[in-house]
């Protein structure tokens, strides 16, 4: 009997013809794949940065009269997880600002800029407020604000005691803003009047009160301060909580008893978690979702243009935004970066035009000595700065390094890219290449996400590419970063900035109630940073926010006030 030979050990001779045929096919396939993969854009024109440093007007989208009806679906890149106000994330806050109100809130709408934090009484539970002295705020509450008609609150009227309870809970939980935790006291003068006292004069206090985290709670809705149960989501906001399907969607519906007459115009507001950028673009393209999670940071121009091409029922809100404001910094309290000449050399080594071309698709603005924010209020552009190093000059950079004694170069082993969830690797790698041009050799230290946070909190880095959060006031954005006492704040001064002149300016601006004088102080602090280069900011990028044409009065905002944004929107059809 013929002996059995398993298939894979039997010898199979390949003929020369078969070998030539196979090789030719493989070669053709490789060439074809290469040609396809290397196909470039038809447009070979090199993108240019925007030389115009003025702030463009955001695209207006209002114009029709408000009407009742319709629904809106937003997407966010994360699930709400929990609607416990003490533990909510950004997505959760978008919902909680819809179901709850704050004492005061910001104005929203298509004619309000992203950075305009205009405090108004209309949509807050306070009808007006007074400031009898620099440390006292007295709020008079609207008499007709009622909670949602759900047990155990059952639609009762909001009182001053609810406000007191809320702010004491925020303060005692230790999870609220510093300003709230630094309150000296909060008390109910009567059923409709609340008094706050601060430990010291603090100009941004009102902005903190308006913060999207400080939603007013009903004591009986929670379980002894625990609001983790979905049945606790009872507020006085324009929308009422209806349902939450974890990982899928949160749905809220119109509150028929909302204290702002006529609002909200929409019947329902939904939020869906769609983490993947292409998936959210697909959902917007097909109309499954009205507005993607770019509602607070924008889409890259090319992706936005693709959406607008594919779906002609979309229009776009365009604006300059830094995304999450990133900046270059280093340990400035020790060599080599304690020498301002070295820091100045770093700033001169940054090629911002290249940044705009490679990372912002050719649409960017070169920032000044602060993150691009509050452009119409406090922000100084490079042309407004007296002495700065916001230009690309390798020769000058090398001279400065030589003068500082680092002509042979600098080796940095711990370049931490603290991106907090964003993909900042393209920027990180570009920085490495740009610094190499002047002999600063950076080795990227990029641990896993939470290890990176741990390292950041402990200040374990030499050089960093990192970000800060949006905020509603200059002080809350910058004090923790620029003041020498800022280390203790999680987002604070881990760079070792200890500049008495800067400390004095930061301390003065937070207690100067005169707007003009305060602006002058803030400008001086930017002039100082421009000279000292403690932090070197990235470019502002043009972002697009596609949304349906029939949606009116959509005004994206730099703060996560989802409810505020949605309550003034309506749909034409």
């Amino acid at each position: 009997m013929e002996s059995y030979k398993p298939y894979w050990t039997s010898s199979r001779r390949t003929s020369r013809r078969r070998l030539l045929q196979g090789s030719s096919l493989a070669a053709l396939g490789t060439i074809g794949a290469t040609l396809l993969g290397c196909g470039g854009d038809d447009d070979d024109a090199a993108p240019t940065s925007n030389p115009d440093q003025t702030t463009p007007e955001p695209t207006s989208n209002g114009g029709s009269e408000p009407r009742q009806g319709g629904e809106i679906v937003f997407a966010d890149d994360q699930d709400v997880g929990t609607l416990d106000p003490l533990f909510s994330n950004v997505a959760g806050r978008a919902i909680l600002t819809a179901t709850h109100s704050r004492l005061v809130s910001w104005k929203h709408g298509a004619d309000v800029g992203q950075w305009d934090h205009i405090i108004e009484a209309d949509r807050g539970v306070a009808t007006d407020w007074e400031q009898p002295d620099e440390q006292t705020y007295v709020f008079n509450l609207k008499p007709d604000v009622s909670f949602h008609d759900k047990a155990p609150v059952n639609g009762r009227t909001l009182t001053a005691e609810d406000v007191v309870y809320t702010f004491e809970l925020w303060r005692d939980s230790g999870r609220s803003a510093q300003a709230v935790r630094d309150m000296a006291s909060v008390r109910a003068i009567d059923a409709q009047t609340v008094e706050f006292k601060t430990n010291s004069p603090y100009v941004p206090f009102l902005q903190w009160i308006a913060s999207s985290t400080n939603v007013i709670l009903a004591p009986e809705a929670g379980n002894d301060g625990d609001y983790s149960d979905l049945a606790s989501v009872i507020g006085t906001g324009p929308f009422m909580f209806e349902s939450y399907e974890p990982g899928f969607k949160v749905r809220t519906v119109r509150n028929p008893s909302y204290f702002v007459e006529g609002e909200p115009y929409l019947d329902a507001f939904e939020l869906r978690p769609i983490p993947d950028k292409n998936a959210v673009a697909a959902a917007v393209r097909t109309g499954e979702v009205d507005i993607g999670w770019y509602w607070w940071q924008g889409l890259d121009p090319s992706l936005a243009e693709s959406l607008l091409r594919d779906n002609t029922s979309l229009t776009s809100y365009d604006d300059w935004t830094p995304g999450s404001p990133f900046f270059i910094t280093a340990k400035v309290d020790r060599p080599p970066f304690n020498d301002p000449r070295v820091r100045q050399a770093v700033s001169l080594a940054v090629n911002r035009e290249q940044w705009i071309d490679l990372l912002a698709e050719g649409h960017g603005l070169i920032s000044g000595a602060a993150p691009y924010q509050f452009p119409d209020k406090w922000y100084l552009w490079p042309d407004d700065l007296n002495e700065h190093y916001i230009r690309h000059d390798l020769a000058e950079a090398k001279k400065l390094l030589e003068a500082a004694g680092y002509g042979d170069g600098i080796d940095i082993n711990r370049f931490l890219s603290y991106a907090r969830g964003s993909n900042a690797m393209p920027e990180t790698e570009l920085i490495v290449e740009q610094m190499k041009q002047v002999g600063i050799n950076l080795t990227i230290d990029q641990p896993e996400y939470l290890a990176m946070i741990d390292q950041w909190l402990k200040g374990e880095f030499e050089f960093a590419w990192t970000t800060t959060s949006y905020s509603s006031d200059w002080d809350t954005s910058m004090y923790g970063h620029w003041h020498s006492s800022g280390f203790n704040a999680a987002e604070g001064n881990r760079y070792g900035i200890n500049d008495p002149e800067l400390d004095e300016l930061m301390d003065r601006q937070r207690v100067t109630f005169d707007e003009e004088e305060r602006t002058s102080i803030i400008h001086q602090s930017q002039q100082l940073n421009a000279r000292e280069c403690y932090m070197i900011y990235e470019v502002a990028r043009l972002q697009h926010m596609p949304f349906p044409k029939d949606v009116r009065n959509f005004g994206p905002h730099s703060n996560f006030d989802g409810g505020g944004i949605v309550s003034v929107m309506w749909r034409d059809a």
Binding site: G174, N278, L450, A489
Partner: protein, 334 residues
């Protein structure tokens, strides 16, 4: 041997059934120390990693590094030594209390029950797709060795294994939305709401996820089938004049499938563990995405429970695979 292979194996004796039951019971009992070991390993290793849930709270809420850290560690029970904490966790686990998620503020078992169904459904559908595509295709390739079908299948297998599933998923999402005006992402329907709609909403991600399984099974089945087709008993069956279809289906397939069953059995845990990409792209609220966020935030109770579930899945899949062998080949007994 040839006659025994033709004997229907379903007619097992009561002795054999008792032996299998005893074997299954032994394996189940062995699972308990395995789970204990896995739980302790996960409990201690994850706490040795840099960063913890407190860091998440500090960073998210811009809290005070000194002052708030100690308080939060105490609140979350992170100030206890590992052994003490593990003993307390085990005592609670015995009472089916697996703790509360640090970040989601809900009982861990509730979270898992919500998220398990989509992931298991996705995994099972992916395996099902892999089997119904990969096995027949592998058999066809084997029977038509070196023919056009064989080359086609081998090409499919290489592409299916080489092309990353996240790339395929992204292309599918983009193409469907551009060409058909339909987005498959975000369409998930919970099983409890409408089981059929739920399965329909998972078909596309399951097909993509199962593609690599289909490719691997096609290759493996082909190889095994070729091996079996060269056996003496197959030659005898042909010599007897049996139709080729009978030879393949009745005599060759079952023997070729024995090693293939092993591969299939191991695919389910792999697919459940690898579902995170599909869950992210298609916005499916499953265990995969929960795992990633739990690891990123060091949500220890959730991480602990998920790993127990994964371990249980692997143990169950292995046991089910082992119990299938006697059905396919009566010569194999536990």
């Amino acid at each position: 041997m040839f006659c025994r292979l033709r004997t229907p194996v379903i007619l097992a004796t009561s002795v054999e059934v008792d032996a299998m039951a005893q074997y299954a019971m032994q394996r189940i009992l062995l699972a308990l120390p395995t789970l204990l070991l896995v739980s302790f390993a996960v409990y201690s290793i994850v706490r040795l990693l840099p960063g913890d849930a407190v860091d998440t709270f500090l960073a998210q809420n811009n809290l005070r590094y000194e002052g708030d850290r100690e308080r939060l560690e105490k609140d979350l029970g992170l100030d206890k030594p590992i052994v003490t904490g593990y003993a307390e966790w085990t005592a609670d686990a015995v009472r089916l209390d697996f703790g509360t998620s640090f970040t989601l503020r809900r009982p861990v078992q509730d979270l898992l029950l919500e998220r398990l169904a989509p992931t298991i459904t996705l995994g099972v559908l992916a395996v099902f797709f892999g089997v119904i595509v990969g096995v027949p295709v592998g058999l066809v390739a084997a029977t038509g060795q070196d023919g056009p079908m064989d080359y086609g299948v081998r090409g499919f297998a290489i592409l299916g294994l080489a092309i990353p599933n996240f790339w395929i998923a992204t292309v599918v999402v983009i193409v469907l939305s551009k060409e058909l005006g339909w987005s498959p992402a975000g369409k998930f329907v919970p099983l409890g709401v409408d089981p059929l709609a739920s399965i329909r909403s998972l078909l596309i991600p399951a097909a993509i996820l199962g593609l690599a399984t289909a490719a691997a099974l096609a290759r493996f089945t082909r190889t095994q089938a070729l091996e079996v087709l060269k056996q003496d008993y197959v030659r005898t069956a042909r010599a007897k004049g049996l139709r080729e279809r009978v030879v393949i289906m009745r005599h060759a397939t079952r023997n070729a499938l024995i090693p293939v069953v092993t591969v299939i059995g191991l695919q389910l845990p792999i697919l459940i563990g690898g579902s995170v990409i599909m869950e992210t792209i298609f916005s499916i609220p499953g265990i995969g995405s929960l795992t990633v966020s739990a690891i990123n935030t060091r949500d220890y109770p959730v991480i602990q429970m998920i790993n127990i579930v994964f371990a249980l899945t692997v143990i169950t899949a292995n046991l089910a695979t082992d119990l299938c062998y006697p059905i396919l080949d009566p010569r194999i007994r536990p």
